[in-house]
Amino acid sequence: MTDYENAIEIKSVTKRYDGFTLDSISFDVPKGCIMGFIGQNGAGKTTTIRSLLHITDIDGGEIRLLGLDHIKDETAIKKRIAVVFDELPFHDVFNARDMARIFEGMYPEWDNAVYMQYLERFQLPTAKQIGNFSKGMKMKLQIACALSHNAELLVMDEATTGLDPVVRDEILHIFMEYLQNGERSILMSSHITSDLEKIADMVTFIDRGKILLTGCKDEIIERHGILKCDKDKLGEIDAEDTVSIRLNSFGAEVMVNDRENASYKYRGCVIDPASLDDIMLYYVHRDRKEWS
């Protein structure tokens, strides 16, 4: 087993498609933390995840998982990671017991007792065919499978999308428990920023194939703010302080990228804290600068 500092290291990764390019992206997921990977639909989240899992080949750059090369050490890596997709990739004819029989031969560290505990906790039937499960049950089964082989890294691609708030909350709670020993890490892609606001330690924001922000979630939220002012005062605000400006019938809301500095600089204006949702929204419109 290798010692590593970052569970995921992505350096200058490029992947070109017709009409979309993942443009030399770089970010790290430190060991023991939950990284929220946010961006609107089509921003490049799934392409990034597929690239790091070697579901697709990359055109350039380097990816290391658990300190190992994602292609050269693929087999070793895959014994130590778990992935949860937005849809259950298991065949409808199987039941939960069948899945245990399938996975116990594949993963050296598969633990049937842990798996059964999760099934019990999620109240999943062991003999019922997966095809007859609800969406929530399917997601819980996928998570139970992912957490039963002592994986050091859990990668989730829109895993909570489409689930009701009760199930989502239950699942997020399980992830928090899973991370408690400090040796495990999670990369969680989602466009439901409220989930990430609850559990993520770090956030990476991707848009149109480019990484716009990456770092500690609290710092990012702390740094940004929404400055509210009249439209005629907009001229006084430096362009370099703003991400973009939202115009409405009452005035303007400006996303500032350094809240503390802005509060000194524009004393007459109110600056509200920004949520991850706000930050995502204002960054998406960064090219237009002014939008409504």
Partner: protein, 251 residues
């Protein structure tokens, strides 16, 4: 070993329904072909009567050919895996492409062995009833049928490996169907009708001399060796295609 047990278990469980259907079809046909024994039994031919050897060959050949076709045919796993999303999921699982391909081959061999044993049992019943050993012929016909159908399956599987998800499944399914048809034509299982017309002179489809030489070739040990060698090569080819299929990443 534990790994292969898991992989083969998954594949056998997934193909269980298809297998049951094939088994029912095979048993119905075998039962139909056993009717002569159940009604009359076989005895040495009287003067002017048709030799039972030809009938035995026809009956054993029909059942064996069917067994071979059912065992060698595509088991629908690739399609089911793409449709369920398992193909994509398999990229993140520890088994390597080579291990997955080997499990595909092992599953195929399980079916080939099973239907081979059933065909052998059928041939044995006829051998016991008619006091005529058709086992060698049965093996040759069986291996020949399995090889021909596996060749088609290889072409089908090769084309299907380019489908990545449900959307692409239909288009590649159609392409694979026609691709397999071309292979079928190439190995001569489709004819344009001309050979049948040419041989139908004087109401005799096949002369006694031609039948004898065909029969001699069919029961020859050399044919068995050739069929076994071809089977080994085709199994290796199947393994390589499945290996490539599991190795190939999405674009």
């Amino acid at each position: 070993m534990k790994l292969y047990r898991s992989l083969v278990y998954r594949e056998l469980k997934l193909t269980r329904k298809r297998f049951l259907l094939m088994l029912i079809l095979f048993l119905l046909l075998a039962l139909l072909m056993l009717t002569p024994i159940m009604l009359d039994g076989f005895s040495a031919p009287a003067e002017g009567e048709e030799s039972p050897v030809e009938t035995i060959l026809l009956l054993v050949g029909t059942v064996t050919l069917t067994g071979g076709f059912l065992a060698g045919t595509n088991n629908g796993l690739q399609k089911a895996d793409i449709s369920a999303g398992w193909k994509r999921y398999s990229f993140i699982l520890p088994p390597t492409a080579r291990q997955q391909a080997l499990s595909d081959l092992l599953t195929k061999l399980c079916y080939i062995l099973f239907f081979g044993l059933l065909s052998a049992a059928f041939a044995w019943i006829y051998s016991a009833a008619a006091d005529y050993n058709s086992f060698g012929i049965m093996v040759n016909i069986y291996l020949g049928a399995v090889c021909a159908v596996m060749l088609i399956d290889i072409a089908y599987s090769y084309i299907m490996m380019f489908a990545n998800d449900k959307k692409q499944l239909r288009i590649f399914g159609v392409i694979a169907f026609f691709g397999a048809g071309i292979i079928l034509r190439a190995v001569g299982l489709f004819t344009d009708g001309k050979p049948a017309e040419q041989s139908a002179e004087d109401g005799v489809l096949i002369s006694e001399e031609a039948f004898n030489s065909f029969f001699a070739a069919l029961s020859s040990g050399k044919t068995t060796l050739c069929a076994a060698a071809a089977f080994a090569v085709i199994c290796a080819l199947y393994f390589l295609v499945m290996w490539r299929s599991h190795e190939r990443r999405e674009p």
